[in-house]
Amino acid sequence: MDFKSLLQEDGFILLDGGMGTMLQANGLVPGDIPEIMNVTHPELIESIHKSYLDAGSMVVYTNTFGANRSKLEGSGHTVSELIGAGAAIARKAVSSASHKAYTALDLGPVGQLLEPTGSLSFEEAYNIFKEQIIAGADTDLIVIETMSDLYETKAALLAAKENSDKPVICTMTFEESGRTFTGCSVSAMAMTLEGLGADAVGVNCSLGPDGLYDILDELASSVSIPIAAKPNAGLPNPETGAYNTTPEEFARQTARLSEIGVKIFGGCCGTSPEFIRLLAKELEGLRPIKREVRKHSAVCTPAKTVVIDQPRIIGERINPTGKKCFKEALMNNDIDYILGQAIEQVRAGADILDVNVGLPDIDEKEMMVRTVKAIQGVTDLPLQIDSTIPEVLEAALRVYNGKPIVNSVNGEEKSLSVILPIVKKYGAAVVGLTLDENGIPKTADERFAIAQRILDRAMKIGIPKEDVFIDCLTLTASAEQDAVMETVKAVHRVKNELGLRTVLGVSNISFGLPNRELVNCNFLQMCLTNGLDLPIINPNAALMTGAVRAYKLLTGIDRNSMDYIRAYKDVSFSSSATPKDSSQSDGSKSGETMNLSYAIENGLKGEAGKITAELLKTTDPMDIVNEMLIPALDKAGDDFEAGRIFLPQLILSAGAAQSAFEAIKNNMSGDKTVSKGKVVLATVKNDIHDIGKNIVKVLLENYGFEVIDLGRDVEHQAVVDAAIEHDVRLVGLSALMTTTLKDMEATVKLLHENNVNCKIVVGGAVLTPEYAEKIGADFYAKDAKETVDIARRVYGVT
């Protein structure tokens, strides 16, 4: 019987216990690479496998936990060598066992954190795992274990599914809080990994068996696939490293996990064959129980699960349609603008963000991948991936961390046959539009019929009913007044007769009408009352978001009006330049007319914009810039240099100046510009400390420069390419650590070798003017303010 069939059988599956523990007991020194013993001490590894098999293990994990390209670097050994040897040893041990047993290719974490916290990309992680999976072909199953990052687990699982046909068990490691170190929750792990096709999921390492009880209990109620538990022998003593649970206690506590539905058992750190032998004995006479699995509609990121058991707002603002600034941002690769739009909606009360970056002249796939990654770096709201191009959807689904919604499939055959398999493969939820080859049907009944068709097709290929959300489509009331109630009726029927979640873009209803928000708001209320779950709206429109909140309050969903009250008590940074309302903090000025320099000096963003807009009615834009803005900024700069104000205040002043600049920019016609020139900025290769560079960027922009921000960990060549492409006269490089100064030097050298006609300014905590000169930089800047001064000098602007 193969392992996949064994998973379907009605018995327990017994894994092995700790490998590292056994190796350390046999002389492995902490910090040494355990997998090298596959070639230096194969007989020891085999004897460990055998002792687990003798204790009753049905599966042994190969000694390959850390045998990846990254960890083996500089060891003198290759992945294929150590994994090949490890798999062969396990195979040999299993073949001589007295009972049928299986070998599991053991994959642990790469050892580096993935983006956005670390610098390892999802794609690199995938390739690292792929190499291991190919090297470990001679095994019966794959285990991905001790993971704390859902993103890394996804990379490994995808690599396993795409490069082998073996069953895969994924186990992650949790803290007592019920989260992993990277903040992943049990529910997010469950829905993401089951969706991606894991054959079993569970928890290993972490804590002792009792400590894992609640976590496994939650997991058991969240997935329908088998559950695995491989706990530690309790908690370690920080001094000696010894674990505090005896084999007897461990066996008893671990076997008790069967009552919540765990089917696959083993041990992790601190366990030995004795633990497994006693565990096997404890499990005798017990049978796996039938589990009750909670079925619900939900989407997630690692840290946030949004259960669609009540109306949830999908923010519609990340979409270029009809938005000039957004289009411009996409054309200029200005990811920060898009991130700003994301955060604004988060603060306004969105539960999910729709992401659409479709524009004719850009590489939508590349932009979508970049945008999804960047948004997930700054918010943990789940996303709805919105594109008409299947390749764009698939690329986004690959790199998305968690379970997203796909927007959308429709009733057309070619849509159903292309989109649904992608949705299934990546375990996403999907929006089904009630239209087909014949367009949008007029009546609710016809739309209902299409919804039914989409549902049938989705379920046929294994997409659960809970993951199909139907959009009954909003038509414009001014053009097709009679269609309004058909939409409302269709929502009602789909919700009540098909039992599906419904989604609807609301704003379109009022197109062409005056006072649109009034119409939108009333339509929203009608739809909510008739069963709308996922209104797609502009959450920044207070009335719309408020309508959803009020609906939840009035229908008793928001118990004791808690959320409603909290929403209207909240203060956020984005609402004004200062955390408190500015009118409170500048009492000295109340009643007087505030001028622009006062607003800038005090970092009053909103006021600076308003005053500028007012000034523009009577004053030439360039006069405002040169006679008010720049002098006010200069004063802030001087105060900073003299130590009268400090970095946060300088940034606030600069922020206020920027809102003035923006008011001016909006006022100017297309070809005129207030740009003082372009500057390329990068934090050098291998360095991920980029806050300093980002401060420089903000200040440069505030002073009217256009910044091409290449981000952090930037390849040497990428800096050269950008400097040439944008024909800049100044390149700024930052490095924080002594270890990455060599990359700064290499980048400077490459710029010189390519004869790039630009000046180079460098900065960073450990840099000195002497070092800057030594590596051939033109300028050393001690802080962000000085970088601005240098830029102004280079561009000959004041």
Partner: protein
């Protein structure tokens, strides 16, 4: 569970090069909010191991430990000690995420949160030290000394984390450039001795920043 319920603001202000008098007005308001946000995002963790120490001539050598301690500064720091605690601490990945988010939303808040997060790691290290000193009562300890201080190289971080099994224990890793991730993390050595240790020499002498240091120019010290 390590409980950190406040952050040393003076320390954070120092990272910002802010003198005390600026701890007023808008910055003070930001400090309140940012401290709350950082404390919410914090998932404080530390882990440590003790190794017996010998000297081979001047060079300190750890027993049963693959780490080689290079350079004269760590040797001087551990002089007279018979053991070393290798310690690692982190704010956790949530703090990195918070700082990323604030950089999009409000750079001034991001800068303040970044400084507070740096000060928070020190709080965690302090807690670790309290535990260590309790565990090894009757012993004498040096100050903490980290890779990157003096001539102790940064490229030993990977080995340190392997020795501590730091990814498994506290979720701490080293990136390809040898930098710790999450960013707000620290590793350090603490020398352990049975006998009182002579007062340490001024850290400035071996500091890489001694030529440019603003504090030193003013005749002060950064306190590290």
């Amino acid at each position: 569970m390590i409980n950190i319920d406040h952050i040393d603001r003076a320390e954070a202000m120092r990272y910002l090069s802010c003198r005390d008098e600026s701890n007023s007005g808008v910055v003070a308001e930001y400090l309140d909010q940012c401290e709350r946000l950082v404390l919410e995002a914090l998932n404080p963790k530390y882990t440590y191991k003790y190794f017996p120490l010998d000297f081979c001539g001047e060079k300190p050598v750890l027993t049963d430990c693959p780490l080689s301690l290079e350079g004269k500064d760590i040797a001087a720091h551990l002089a007279g000690c018979r053991g070393v605690i290798i310690l690692a601490a982190t704010d956790g990945a949530g703090v990195d995420a918070l700082i990323r988010q604030l950089q999009v939303e409000n750079m001034a808040a991001a800068v303040i949160a970044d400084a507070l997060a740096g000060a928070a790691v020190e709080e965690i290290l302090n807690k670790a030290e309290v535990e260590i000193k309790e565990r090894y009562g009757n012993m004498y300890f040096t100050e903490r000394y980290s890779p990157g201080y003096g001539d102790l190289p940064l490229n030993i971080q990977k080995t340190i984390l392997n020795i501590l099994d730091a990814q498994k224990r506290i979720g701490l890793c080293v990136g390809s450039g040898g930098l710790l991730t999450p960013i707000k993390s620290v590793t350090a050595f603490i020398g352990v001795s049975k006998n009182p240790l002579r007062k340490e020499r001024c850290r400035c002498d071996s500091c890489n920043m001694r030529e440019t240091c603003r504090y030193r120019k003013e005749g002060k010290s950064c306190g590290l």
